[in-house]
Every structure is written in structure tokens, then in C-alpha cells.
């Protein structure tokens, strides 16, 4: 039988190899799933992962990948700090929605005033603030009442979900929309629109922000004391205490970062690709970003790559939906499977496999 033997040190080799191994294994499992659904597995995998980037219509798909990767990366980077320190903000989806609502609130209150130089930045501030406020609830309750932050942050996702639906048919409904739900289309309001900076590239302000955040985060984690404290708390909370890390402050800061980034991701999304507040606005980026964070090893560069890959599954998934009639839910399963497989193969980073002749019981 196979025994697991704890390594003395985390394996550097497997740390980098397991994410790739996980992606390959997930593709194989995904292929099996497609075969069960009666679709050609090889063609399906190619349609999802290859064609959007290298295929005939890549010029159309590539910008889409960038647009979807930006919010995923922004949110995942934010989450990575907390996850490293063992602080679980699972409600990024809610913070993302509230960020979007706040940003639209600012835009609509100035409509139709010109003045992009102050309206657009103000929307960014509102998005960040909205996400932060929403994230502060679980953080404060955790610090002052020892309430479980996982459950509170999650409950607030459902509350945010109710709010966005209520606003899209109530407070923020487009007065010129003939009674249809949904706010004004921000893409038609130049002062608030987050359009492509260079047409046809998918490059909007959210993409630039995402790149900036990756770079900043890399610097903070590698060089700044805060990054050290985060890592230390994750590896040994007791040692962190001795080193003078204020655990409560760390919780607050981690939630502020993840909430703010999720909120600003919502702002860029609602003013750009989504264009308006609508009940169906959330694309579950807040949850997918959790997968991105883990797949990227909670490392900024890793998250950048993982974000692009998961964005590819969205874009390729919808391409496969139209081309091969593969149900869109398959992509969700695929993403869940990816996290499963990744966590499983992760065992190799901390343990080595040993073959033993005789079994010694469970």
C-alpha cells in the first residue's frame, strides 16, 4: 500500500508543478465528463482552451479573456492575503456586488453631467468604499464577537444579491427604460463608461488596475513587513504573536484589502462589460476568484496566470456552448473539479509517497 510521509520541508519542485498537473488532470476528467455527455472530448477541450487564444476567431475571444480575467485577478489578489493568514473571506461575491452598486449610485447621481475627470475616479472610490464597508461587517464581528467570518461573509452575499435585484427594479431603474428592470446603460454615459482604451484589445481600466495590483502585491509580499506578518500568521499564529503581530489588526486589514479590491472589481465590471445594474449582474466572479487564488498558489504572479486560465474557461465555455451545445453548467463543474484536483495533488508538496509492502491498518 501507499504511505504518505511528511516532508521535512515543503517541496519547491512540486509547489510549481502541482498547479500544472492539476490543470492537465482536470482536462482529462473534463474530457471524460464531455464523453459522458456524448460530446467529442478532444474537440470540446480544444474549443474551450485552444481556439479562443489561437483559433480562427481568436481576435474576438482574446479581448474577452482579458476582460474576464481582470475582475478575477483583482478579487483573487485581495483574497490571497487573508487566505495566507488563515482568514477566510468567502463573501467576495457580495463585496463585488456592493462595489458595483455604490459605483452606479455615484454615476447615476451625476447623470447626465459631463466631467469624467472627477466622476470616474469618484466611482472608483465609491466601489472600493462599498466593498470595504461590506467586508468590514464580518471583520468587525470576528474581532469583537469572535463570530465565524466564513458564515457572516457568506450570508452577506445573499443579502447583496437581494439588494442588487431590488435596486435594479426599484431605486436605480432606468427612468427611460419603459419599465424594464435594470439601470441606465453606463456605456452610453461617457463620464462613467469604462470602455476599451484601445479598441479591440479588451484593455480597459480594470485590466490596468489588475496588472498594477499584481505588481504592488508582489512587492508587498516579498519586501514589505506587512507581507511578512501575513505569511508568519499563516504558518504559525503563536510565533506571529511573539513577533508582535496584532492579530485583530491583521484580520481588519486583510478584510479591507480583499473587500476593497472586490468592490473595485465590481466597479470596473459594472461600468464596462456589464454596463448596468441588473439582477443577473453577478457572474459569480467572487466565488471563482477563490479557485484562482488557490490555483495561483496565493502568489501574485501565479494568480495572474490562474486568472487568465479561469477567464479562458468562461470564454471557451460559452464558445463551446454555442458551437457544440455543451451546457454552460459544465464549466461550473469544471471549475469545481479543478479546485478538487488541485487540492488533491497538493499532497505531493508536503508529503512524499512511499510504497510499503504490508498494510498497517487505516
Amino acid at each position: 500500500m501507499i504511505l504518505l510521509e511528511k516532508r521535512k520541508q515543503t517541496s519547491q519542485f512540486w509547489t510549481y508543478v502541482t498547479p500544472i498537473l492539476a490543470v492537465v488532470l482536470t482536462m482529462i476528467f473534463g474530457g471524460v465528463l464531455f464523453a459522458i455527455l456524448g460530446k467529442d472530448p478532444v474537440l470540446a477541450i480544444k474549443t474551450i482552451f485552444w481556439d479562443p487564444v489561437f483559433g480562427e476567431f481568436a481576435f474576438y475571444y482574446r479581448p474577452e479573456v482579458l476582460k474576464k480575467a481582470a475582475p478575477l485577478i483583482l478579487i483573487a489578489i485581495g483574497l490571497s492575503y487573508g487566505f495566507k493568514a488563515g482568514i477566510w473571506n468567502i463573501g467576495a461575491e457580495g463585496q463585488y456586488i456592493i462595489g458595483a452598486i455604490c459605483a452606479v449610485g455615484v454615476a447615476l447621481s451625476f447623470y447626465p453631467t459631463e466631467g469624467r475627470w472627477f466622476i470616474f475616479p469618484l466611482m472608483i472610490v465609491a466601489g472600493i468604499a462599498g466593498g470595504m464597508i461590506w467586508a468590514m461587517v464580518p471583520a468587525l464581528l470576528r474581532v469583537y464577537f469572535k463570530t465565524n467570518e466564513i458564515l457572516v461573509s457568506l450570508m452577506l452575499v445573499y443579502v447583496a444579491d437581494v439588494l442588487i435585484k431590488a435596486f435594479s427594479i426599484g431605486l436605480m431603474r432606468n427612468p427611460d427604460g419603459h419599465g424594464f428592470p435594470g439601470s441606465r446603460n453606463l456605456n452610453d454615459y461617457p463620464a462613467a463608461a469604462n470602455l476599451e482604451l484601445i479598441a479591440g484589445t479588451g484593455l480597459h481600466w480594470g485590466v490596468i488596475a489588475a496588472i498594477g495590483v499584481v505588481v504592488a502585491s508582489y512587492a508587498i509580499l516579498a519586501r514589505h513587513q506587512f507581507g511578512f506578518h501575513v505569511r508568519l500568521t499563516g504558518e504559525s499564529p503563536r510565533a506571529a504573536g511573539f513577533a508582535g503581530v496584532n492579530a485583530n489588526r491583521l484580520i481588519m486589514v486583510c478584510f479591507l484589502i480583499s473587500g476593497g479590491l472586490a468592490g473595485v472589481a465590481g466597479m470596473f465590471e459594472v461600468s464596462g462589460p456589464a454596463a448596468q445594474i441588473l439582477g443577473s449582474f453577478p457572474s459569480a466572479y467572487g466565488f471563482t476568484a477563490i479557485i484562482v487564488a488557490f490555483l495561483g498558489r496565493l502568489n501574485p504572479i501565479g494568480i495572474l496566470l490562474a486568472g487568465l486560465l479561469l477567464a479562458l474557461t468562461y470564454v471557451g465555455g460559452s464558445a463551446a456552448e454555442t458551437a457544440m451545445n455543451i451546457p454552460s453548467a459544465t464549466i461550473q463543474i469544471f471549475q469545481g473539479m479543478l479546485l478538487f484536483v488541485l487540492l488533491s495533488v497538493d499532497v505531493l508538496t508536503d508529503y512524499r509517497l512511499r510504497w510499503v509492502a504490508r498494510s498497517g491498518g487505516v
Binding site: L4, E5, K6, W88, I90, V137, L141, F145, K146, T147, N148, I150, L151, V152, L154, M155, L156, V157, Y158, V159, V162, L163, K165, A166, G170, F287, I290, I291, F294, P327, A329, T330, I331, Q332, I333, F334, Q335, G336, M337, L339, F340, L343, S344, D346, V347, D350, Y351, G361, V362
Partner: protein, 301 residues
């Protein structure tokens, strides 16, 4: 305002049943020292499997059995990963939820508008004729009674039986339990599967009785509320009952108020179960979690 308190109490019983079923399963899992955050995923799997099984066989009983099997089946994935591949339980539970939501959406395609299989009410003879209490407690379908029986059974199991004590020992200190020769992984796998089956039943109760139809995301966070109830109950079965009925109360009252057309916007009412959960988590911070809850067990001898 014209809400009949007796009918409301009976409605609370029905509204609480899915939460109660999922929560009692999770309670056993957590008492064994495992934190399975995938309750929502197992519930929704049970909801879709139960609905399809009931629809295809035209038997509610087979539907619920299918749901229990479905919930247990996906919980095995969680068990294998956390117990044998030593994965992080928080992350694995989340993966299970993401996976379950996707799986149910895929499997449930084409079943969105089908007719339902009735789940008959079984009034208990004599008892159901007692005024007031009879209507509240004894005129329900079999699943309501079963959920109460499971809670009682779990209480007896945990406090009065040897197997239950072993399970608690495993949850309190897995290294000590292992040293005494108990099979930590085997106990935990069984607990996880029990939790999965209960969550599956709870999910099917939503899709077969509460709503009753299949739509994507039908459980809408009930699994997460069930997790909160376990904390609220301080891992004690009887307090679980109180917690579940409290939440059933909020849900049922909210639906009643909506139906009454009171001057409170609908959307703010539908937030109330989630806000109530947060409130309860804040107020109730007591209770000690099982010692080994969420920790990875690796026998390194």
C-alpha cells in the same frame, strides 16, 4: 393583520425541516472533528437527484432515498480528499459547494417545468385530533417526523452508545483516539457520509415539498444557514432543534407577511433569514467546538 398562529406554527415545522436535516448531519460530522463546508453543495445535489428520482419513479419515497444516496455520494469525494489526501477542509468544502451547484444545474436540465410527485401528509391517529397541538405537530408528511427521529437518534447515539463516544473521542483528540486504536479515518468517513445523506434529504425536501419544483440554485444558501445553526447549537442536538425552528420561524413569518401584503417591501423581507443568521451568530458565541475540528489527521508513526 390576519395571521393564524396555529397554521403559522405548522408552517414553521415545514419550513425548518430542510435546515434541521442538513444541520443534524453536519453536527455529527463536526462532532467527529471534520468541518465540511460543502453542505450547500450536498443539499443541492440531493435536491436535484431527489427531484429526478421522484419524477422518474413517480414515488416520493424513492426520490428521498435517491437524494440521500446522491448527497452521500458527493460527500465521499470530500471524505477521500480530506481524510486520505489530507487536503484543507475549508477549501475542499468550498470546492464541493461549487462542484455541487454546477453538477445540479447540469443534471437538472430539462426538468425545470415537470409536474411534481405529491408527498402525502400522514396525520398520526389520535394525536392529530388534539386541538392546536395536533395541527401544529402531528399533521405533517413523513419527512418532518423522520427529521425529528433523526435528531433524537443522534442524541441517543452521541450520549448513550459506545460508538457515539468513539466518534466524540475522535473529534475531540484524534491523536489520542488513534493511539487507543480507534480507526480515525473510518469513523470520520462514516460520519461524513451520514452528513451527506442528511444534507441530501434536506435538499430533496426543498425541491419535493417546500417549493416544490426544480430550479437552479434552489437551496439559496440553506446549507450555509444549517452550518450556522450547528454553531448556534454549540454542537448539541437538542439546541439544534431550537435553532432550526427559530430560522424556520423567520422564513415562514416572512412568507406570511408577504402574503398579507403588509407595507414592507418584499426584498427586505427575503433578506431576513440571512440577517437573522448573522445576528444569532453574534449573540451566541458560547459553546466549545470539538477539539480536533478542522484539523488534518495524519498518523505519522
Amino acid at each position: 393583520m390576519d395571521i393564524n398562529p396555529i397554521l403559522l406554527a405548522a408552517a414553521i415545522m415545514v419550513a425548518s425541516t430542510p435546515i434541521l436535516l442538513a444541520a443534524i448531519g453536519e453536527l455529527v460530522v463536526e462532532r467527529a472533528g471534520v468541518l465540511n463546508l460543502g453542505v450547500e453543495g450536498m443539499m443541492i445535489t440531493g435536491a436535484v437527484v431527489g427531484f429526478i428520482a421522484a419524477h422518474e419513479s413517480e414515488s416520493a419515497t424513492l426520490g428521498f432515498m435517491g437524494a440521500a444516496l446522491g448527497g452521500a455520494a458527493v460527500s465521499v469525494i470530500f471524505g477521500l480528499l480530506t481524510q486520505f489526501l489530507l487536503t484543507n477542509q475549508v477549501a475542499t468544502g468550498l470546492a464541493l459547494t461549487l462542484f455541487g451547484v454546477g453538477l445540479s444545474a447540469l443534471v437538472g436540465q430539462g426538468y425545470e417545468t415537470t409536474t411534481q410527485v405529491p408527498v402525502p401528509k400522514i396525520p398520526i391517529p389520535v394525536l392529530s385530533d388534539i386541538p392546536i397541538i395536533g395541527t401544529i405537530l402531528f399533521r405533517h408528511d413523513a419527512m418532518v417526523y423522520l427529521s425529528l427521529l433523526i435528531v433524537a437518534g443522534v442524541f441517543v447515539f452521541l450520549t448513550k452508545t459506545r460508538a457515539g463516544m468513539i466518534l466524540r473521542a475522535v473529534g475531540e483528540n484524534h491523536d489520542a483516539a488513534h493511539a487507543l486504536g480507534y480507526k480515525v479515518r473510518r469513523v470520520r468517513m462514516m460520519a461524513i457520509m451520514f452528513g451527506g445523506a442528511c444534507a441530501g434529504l434536506g435538499g430533496a425536501y426543498i425541491s419535493l415539498v417546500r417549493v416544490p419544483q426544480w430550479v437552479d440554485n434552489i437551496t439559496a444558501g440553506t446549507g450555509w444557514i444549517a452550518l450556522a445553526i450547528v454553531v448556534f447549537a454549540s454542537w448539541k442536538p437538542w439546541r439544534l432543534l431550537l435553532g432550526a425552528y427559530l430560522f424556520g420561524g423567520v422564513t415562514a413569518l416572512q412568507i406570511n407577511i408577504q402574503a398579507e401584503g403588509l407595507d414592507i417591501p418584499v426584498e427586505y423581507l427575503s433578506m431576513s433569514p440571512y440577517l437573522a443568521t448573522i445576528l444569532v451568530l453574534v449573540v451566541i458565541s458560547g459553546g466549545r467546538a470539538p477539539g480536533s475540528l478542522g484539523k488534518i489527521f495524519h498518523a505519522s508513526s
